[in-house]
């Protein structure tokens, strides 16, 4: 029975699964400690604050001149009075970046390429998140059903699909980095 299952598992996959799980657990544990530490200081975590701050700036750039920005211990509120959104710790997108990086560590074939791709992925995910929150502030400001449609379907599907596409494109990016970087 066990040998049948073992023969079905491609060689190297088990090693990948272990590395992927350990990397993800390690990243999430460090992050949890960081959150606990900021909570002890009765402060908001730096990542959520920066994402909220940049989103506010982006909303201002989109033309919402009277867009307000206020932060509390649990998160930040962005928008016009009465039409605000709440950016909490779960909205900062860092956990998605951790899953993306954990995969890269799992299939690690080249340390330099993994580090470069991890950094690029982290920055891309955070930039997309800033864009997403800025757009949501604009959509809630203008009202209508578009806000619900975008938050429920468009942005979620786009970011998750993008991460999967980045994973699938990893060999191509690896080849490019080996040739030019």
């Amino acid at each position: 029975m066990l040998s049948t299952i073992k023969s079905q598992i491609p060689s190297g996959f088990l090693r990948f699964a272990i590395r992927f799980s350990i990397a993800l657990l390690a990243l999430l544990t460090v992050y949890k400690f960081y959150l606990w530490f900021t909570e002890q200081k009765e402060d908001l975590d730096w990542i959520t604050y920066q994402v909220s701050f940049l989103s506010h700036r982006f909303a201002l750039a989109l033309g919402i001149a009277d867009c307000e920005f206020s932060c509390f211990m649990d998160g930040c509120r962005i928008g016009v009075e009465g039409k605000m959104i709440n950016v909490l710790e779960g909205c900062n997108g860092i956990k998605l970046a951790f899953v993306y990086i954990a995969y890269l560590i799992g299939v690690n074939e080249n340390n330099r390429s993994t580090i470069i791709q991890s950094l690029i992925g982290l920055v891309l995910i955070q930039l997309f998140n800033v864009f997403r929150i800025g757009m949501l502030v604009m959509l809630i400001y203008h009202g209508g059903d578009m806000y619900f449609f975008f938050i429920k379907y468009i942005f979620g599907v786009f970011i998750y699909a993008s991460i999967i596409v980045l994973w699938l494109l990893k060999p191509v990016v690896d080849r490019y980095l080996n040739r030019y970087a």
Partner: protein, 77 residues
């Protein structure tokens, strides 16, 4: 006759006073809680914009992509 009229007037005034007493108490109960208008409802909190709702699905997708990668590699070998 005068006596009857006086009694009638007295009776009418007593009953009128009794009616009035029922509607408006002479002594207000100062300690009773007077009915007041309910306070206006607090505005609903602003909506959250979570992004990590599908984290488990993404982890599973990572596992699936990894499985496909190693399976394809096995085929090419």
């Amino acid at each position: 006759m005068k006596k009857i009229a006086l009694i009638l007037i007295l009776q009418i005034s007593i009953s009128a006073l009794a009616q009035q007493k029922k509607e408006e108490p002479v002594f207000d109960n100062w300690f009773a809680k007077k009915p007041t208008a309910p306070p206006p409802a607090a505005p609903p909190p602003p909506p959250n914009v979570p992004l990590d709702g599908g984290l488990v699905a993404l982890i599973a997708a990572g596992g699936a992509v990894g499985y496909k990668k190693y399976k394809d590699r096995k085929k090419t070998e």
